[in-house]
């Protein structure tokens, strides 16, 4: 009987543990279920938003469905992608453009969507290549990079921004300062420029000189100012000398004034672009002092404030976007980098060192209230950019926020030293932020932007209208155009190449024009030619011309690289390369005549007879 109290205690403890286990885990499961349900998009259903994530050193743009986090596709831009037949072959004009403007890779950072009335209209997306000072424009009807330009007089094209509210220019910040007149022998301090690019012509209209390293950009909602964070006002060349000053700056450039000055020929033209020097034009540039080495700058949806993140300082600097005066500098946490917004007057700032997103109330911070911090949430790990849906527009949605983290550490199964990058989706619809899900990507997204799928839907096209020079079915041909050149006009449709064979001779240059004559969406055919470094991917209706050397004598089977039909494997053809001294008569081929068994008369194609 003496043991009864002991047994009672034991039973009580066991019961308590059981209750906690049961209901505790149940509650946890419930929270998980709620989060899972918010990001679950069943097979066949579509995501509400499309997120464009810069591909970083992948040189591309990743397109991700939100809230599911599913990687929908990659848009190759600065790097050849054989999978899309993009810029692969050495004679491909896009490849040549890439080579001529800096190289076959890029470092994409900031995807920016075109705006109309301060909201995204779904026409274009621009993205920078920091490494080679390039700017690319992606057409969102076909999701393809249609223009790539090199920005003159600038190195390290980092922050870019679309001038609100109607995309008047694309602002491009030059981060790596250069000799003022482009001459390395000039002993004057280095300087840099902010470039203003016309969104349609993609011409650089003018540039404004700024001393220091010009970092992240945004613009006022009325289009009056572009804001750029500038670090290293010291103009130091090494790290130690770049962090000497207590304050660096946000550079506010008066865009209409710059326009007027450029139009009046006030700039110094270098490499075809007028460069305006603020030293000669008072009011063109206003440097607003902020704690040293700031990073992001973001304008609030109502256009009232530009918010600069302190990076090395635990503060954000709130600047009146009209008067350019500092109105507050609240502390938010360690390593503030970027800020985004909801539709209820809240700002969300990424804290790189704290690995957190901090939610704070703008009006309270400006008003000097002490309770401006609303919430904090941990992310995994070392967050860089963050974006809330519509945070860059005048109408934020206030539902999801994407945290783009630099490291994933323990978030995924270890797969060698190079772990995937980690993006985390956070629900910001309530007072408290809720972590919903994470998804990995290849290296290495910096920034993101979102557009509603409903905006894209009427814009996106999946079948090309054949151009005037497209090869038409029934009019395919193989014609010898010269002693050492052959032109092949080919069509592709399930499940055949026409012609399905052609002969050339060693030393020939083959100009292949190929049209996919399919009319149904998603019916993409490839044209891969072994040992010729050649793979073309052709969407329906698309025509591509490629020139290549015939190569060594032999039989080369061209085949379809994009799965297309039940006879996909059978979709192939032969390029027969005859030896240089072959005496065999090469048969020219033409669809209509070929049916009748005739040979088209053309330039003599026998080696001996030429």
């Amino acid at each position: 009987m003496k043991r009864h109290p002991f047994i009672l205690v034991l039973v009580t403890v066991a019961a308590t543990v059981a209750v906690v286990q049961t209901f505790g885990c149940g509650a946890a499961r419930s929270a998980r279920s709620i989060a899972a349900e918010k990001v679950y998009v069943p097979p066949g259903e579509l995501d509400k938003y499309v997120a464009f994530l810069s591909g970083g050193q992948s040189g591309s743009v990743f397109v991700v469905g939100i809230p599911s986090g599913r990687l929908i596709r990659e848009i190759p831009i600065f790097e050849p992608r054989a999978a899309y037949g993009y810029a692969v072959h050495e004679t491909d004009p896009r490849r040549k453009l890439l080579e001529d403007t800096g190289g076959l890779w890029g470092d994409t950072h900031h995807p920016m969507l075109s705006e109309k009335n301060g909201v995204f209209d779904g026409r274009y997306l621009w993205i920078n290549d920091l490494a080679n000072a390039r700017l690319a424009r992606v057409r969102l009807d076909y999701f393809e990079a249609d223009r790539i330009i090199k920005i003159p007089n600038l190195q390290g094209a980092h922050g870019i921004a679309v001038v609100s509210p109607d995309t008047k220019y694309i602002v491009v910040n030059g981060e790596f300062e250069q000799p003022t007149d482009g001459l390395v022998t000039n002993p004057a301090p280095y300087t840099s420029v902010v470039a203003y690019v016309d969104p349609e012509s993609m011409e650089v209209k003018f540039e404004v000189r700024v001393n220091g390293n010009i970092d992240i950009a945004d613009t006022s909602k009325d289009g009056r100012y572009s804001f750029s964070t500038v670090y290293n006002l010291e103009q130091g060349k090494d790290m130690g000398s770049m962090i000497q000053y207590d304050r660096d700056a946000v550079a506010a450039i008066d865009i209409p004034m710059a326009e007027t000055l450029a139009a009046a020929g006030k700039g110094t033209v270098r490499n075809g672009v007028p460069i305006l020097d603020p030293a000669e034009h008072a009011g063109l540039l206003t440097l607003i002092p902020v704690p040293k080495n700031p990073h992001g700058v973001n304008v609030t949806p109502d256009g009232k404030y530009a918010i600069a993140a302190g990076k090395l300082s635990p503060t954000v600097t709130i600047i009146d976007a009209h008067t350019l005066k500092i109105v507050a500098e609240p502390e938010v946490g360690l390593g503030p980098l970027h800020t985004t917004f909801d539709d209820r007057g809240n700002a969300f700032t990424s804290l790189f060192l704290d690995s957190q997103v901090v939610k704070w109330n703008i009006a309270k911070a400006v008003g000097g209230a002490s309770d401006y911090i609303v919430d904090r949430i941990n992310v995994h790990y070392n967050i860089g950019h963050l974006q809330a849906v519509g945070g860059d527009t005048v109408h934020p949605m206030g539902d999801y926020l994407l945290a783009l983290n630099k490291l994933s550490k323990d978030q995924y199964v270890p797969v060698g030293p190079d772990m995937p990058e980690n993006q985390e989706l956070i629900d910001i619809s309530g007072e408290k932020m809720k972590m919903l899900a994470s998804f990995p990507t290849p290296p290495e997204p910096h920034d993101a932007t979102f557009i509603a799928a409903s905006v894209l839907k009427p814009i996106v096209k999946q079948v090309y209208t054949p151009t005037d020079d497209a090869v038409q079915a029934g009019r395919e041909s193989v014609v010898r155009t010269g002693p050492h050149s052959v032109a092949v006009n080919m069509t592709l449709i399930r499940s055949a190449y026409t012609p399905d064979s052609f002969e050339v001779r060693e030393g020939d240059t083959v100009t292949l024009k190929v049209t996919n004559v399919e009319t149904i969406r998603d019916m993409i055919h490839g044209f891969a030619l072994p040992d010729h470094n050649l793979n073309i991917a052709l969407p329906p209706g698309y025509t591509k011309t490629i020139t290549f050397d015939a190569g060594k004598p032999g039989v080369y089977w061209y085949y379809c690289t994009n799965f297309c039909s039940a006879l996909h494997l059978e979709m192939r053809g032969r390029m027969v390369v005859q030896p240089k001294d072959a005496t065999v008569t090469l048969t020219d081929w033409h669809a209509a005549e070929n049916v009748k068994g005739q040979v088209v008369a053309g330039v003599p194609s026998t080696g001996d007879k030429q």
Binding site: G44, I493, R494, E518, T519, I520, R521, S565, A566, L567
Partner: protein
């Protein structure tokens, strides 16, 4: 006047049927979500997603019917009906006129019936006169019904009357409606044809 309006409408509908699709086919398959393929048969031939259907049918050896003599006959028949119906509009309600209208309704019916038979025959041939060397052998011969579905491989093919056929059917209905009173007329004459003819002659 009412009868005349009926026949004029019937004639107009019949004429209009020549300008619109007569019969339709809808083909759906898992690979074509939200984009069912459509074919329409009109006086001028087959329209719609012809390119895609031609591309697909090679796999199962179906020969796309490019030459359709039935359509020429149907066009002539419909044109004749237009003339017959117009005439019926201006036929007096005499026994002879009434007899003509009965014949006219019968002619419309006959054309519809003959067209249906010809089309069913053609549908049978499409599903049976196939290239036996087609890549996919697993699909058995098939006969799409005039109205309704048939399963062809991964496709469900629905056949249905299109606007033109509906117009022709309506014209037939109107031509039958134009006969109202004819029965009474016959009964009044005790059903004797001789009376009918005699009264007509009078």
């Amino acid at each position: 006047m009412k009868t005349r309006a009926l026949y004029l409408t019937a004639a107009a509908l019949t004429a209009a049927a020549l300008a619109v699709p007569l019969w339709g086919f809808a083909m759906s398959a898992p690979q074509y979500p939200d984009e069912t393929l459509h074919l329409q048969i009109a006086r001028t031939g087959i329209g719609g997603d012809v390119h895609e259907v031609e591309t697909l049918q090679q796999y199962i050896g179906v020969r796309f019917p490019t030459d359709l003599p039935e359509l020429k006959w149907a066009t002539r028949g419909i044109a004749t009906l237009v003339a017959l119906l117009l005439l019926a509009a201006f036929t007096p309600s005499t026994p002879f006129g009434r007899a003509y209208r009965v014949l006219c309704a019968a002619a419309v019916f006959l054309l519809l019936f003959a067209s249906a038979v010809a089309m069913q025959q053609r549908l049978y041939r499409v599903g049976h006169e196939r290239d036996r060397n087609a890549p996919i052998r697993a699909v058995h011969d098939f006969t799409p019904p005039l109205v309704g579905p048939v399963k062809v491989g991964n496709f469900t093919v629905w056949s249905f009357p299109h606007l033109g056929a509906v117009m022709l059917l309506t014209a037939f209905g109107l031509s039958v409606l134009g006969l109202r009173g004819t029965r009474d007329f016959i009964q009044r004459s005790d059903g004797r044809l001789s009376d009918l003819v005699r009264k007509g002659a009078a």
